[in-house]
Amino acid sequence: MNNWLVPVLLATPVLLLLALGIVAFVLRYQRRLLRQQEQIRQVREMAQQQALEAALLAQEDERRRIAADLHDGVGTTLAIVKLHLSTLGQPALTQEASALLDQAITEVRRISRNLLPAALQKFGLPFALDALARTVPSDGPTRLNLEQRGQPRRLNPHYELIVYRMVQELLGNGLRHAHSDRIDIIVDFGADTLSLHYTDNGIGFDTSIIDTQPLLGARTGHGLTNLQSRVKVLKGTLRYQSELGTGSQFWISLPVPYITASQAPAPLTSLL
């Protein structure tokens, strides 16, 4: 028998195994790279989420500060001025000024209330939503129907504030831009999700413009961007449908954790 045969026959499977090892290594290497990329993506996403959340919280803090300054500073000063006017003892001269002051105080209160919805902090989301709905006059050009379904309950204060802002954003946009005579908002408190369904029969908007570059003078879609940011913070989903002349619909679904009675936020003293 050839002297070379046995060593060659022994070495050949070894080489074959080495080749197999190379192929297996490439596959493993690719898997590891994919895992690393996925981890990097998750970390980036989390960082983005945190940055977005921090920005929204900072915005809310700033609103709170402005609301407090308006109420405690401007509101109190106006009340004192009104008091001084009443001490002059000349109602004929001060009546008009006093009425203007009353108007200014009411305006300051309204702005302050919008900036920091006290009802939300004191009584929670379901109550605050009802209060928000009551601010829309029933005999105005737009009729609002806000319906709460499921088990309306208190949520984490941050969640409540963000959800409230979403409804406020939808309602504000609808009232300002949609020119509709009817707006329906359904808030469904599910077991572990909260769903919002907004419908109006207004002028609608071109979704392709929102998706691409906003036109000069057209609706810029800032409201939608704000809405998307808030939905993203709560890791929810947003879907919308609209066409010019046929109204708009928005569906928002948010994963909302239950909170127990002990976790429920303590009522705060009303600012106004």
Binding site: M1, I22, V26, L33, Y240
Partner: protein, 231 residues
């Protein structure tokens, strides 16, 4: 070491089977031709050409000298075609040019080997060895590029990954057999010769199996209907 005599029978059967097995990837390549990328078309053409050469060698009444030239030609054609796959598949122009340069170098070496180094030899072991090292190297480089660039999520379904795996395994498994081919041929040891043949046929079956899978997984990227979504 004593080899059992049944190896001769098994080796003969397996050699014939592996020669016929080439029809499987070729048929599949023919069926999927419109979906094949250029490197895969070259691979399919290469398989067809080399199979024709094998058939010619088996059926034609060739003199030993003519048969030697035919097998040398087979090695050259196989190397140029498999190398050509990488000349098409690599991403960077510089890599592709380098592959072409290496192939030209190989062609020159094969002619030098045929004319001077192993003049008159029935099997050109040097050319075979250089072929194996060259193709294993090119396949290895391509596999590395695939792993880094990740063109697909599941590399095991990527046609050229499968084809390259087949090339790496075939030439790694046969390189030593070709290096010592001269010794085996001159030893006139029937069992030893058939053992080598058995090993080569086994590796060839693995290679053709991977080529079949490569053609099986070849398909055009799915074109999704234009759906507007606002999620």
């Amino acid at each position: 070491m004593v080899f059992p005599p049944w190896i001769i029978t098994v080796a003969d059967y397996l050699e014939q089977a592996s020669d016929l097995l080439v029809l499987l990837p070729l048929t599949l390549a023919g069926l999927r031709w419109p979906y094949l990328t250029q490197p895969l078309r070259l691979l399919a053409s290469g398989l067809a050409i080399t199979s024709a050469l094998v058939a010619f060698a088996a059926l034609g009444q060739l003199t030993p000298a003519a048969e030697s030239i035919l097998w040398h030609l087979y090695t050259i054609v196989q190397t140029l075609i498999f190398g050509g796959i990488y000349a098409l598949a690599f991403q960077q122009k510089r890599q592709r040019q380098l592959v072409l340069l290496v192939l030209v170098g190989f062609l020159a070496f094969a002619l030098f080997d045929w004319r001077w180094l192993e003049q008159g030899a029935s099997m050109h072991a040097y050319t075979h060895s250089v072929q194996s090292v060259l193709l294993v190297g090119l396949s290895g480089l391509y596999l590395r590029e695939l792993a880094q660039q990740m063109p697909v999520l599941h590399l095991e379904n990527h046609s050229l990954f499968l084809a390259s795996s087949g090339i790496v395994m075939y030439f790694s498994g046969t390189v030593l057999l070709y290096v010592f081919a001269g010794h085996f041929v001159s030893a006139t040891d029937a069992i030893g010769e058939h053992t080598v043949s058995l090993l080569m046929s086994t590796v060839n079956v693995v290679r053709l199996g991977l080529f079949t899978l490569a053609f099986y997984h070849a398909s055009q990227p799915a074109v999704l209907p234009a759906v507007r979504s606002h999620e």
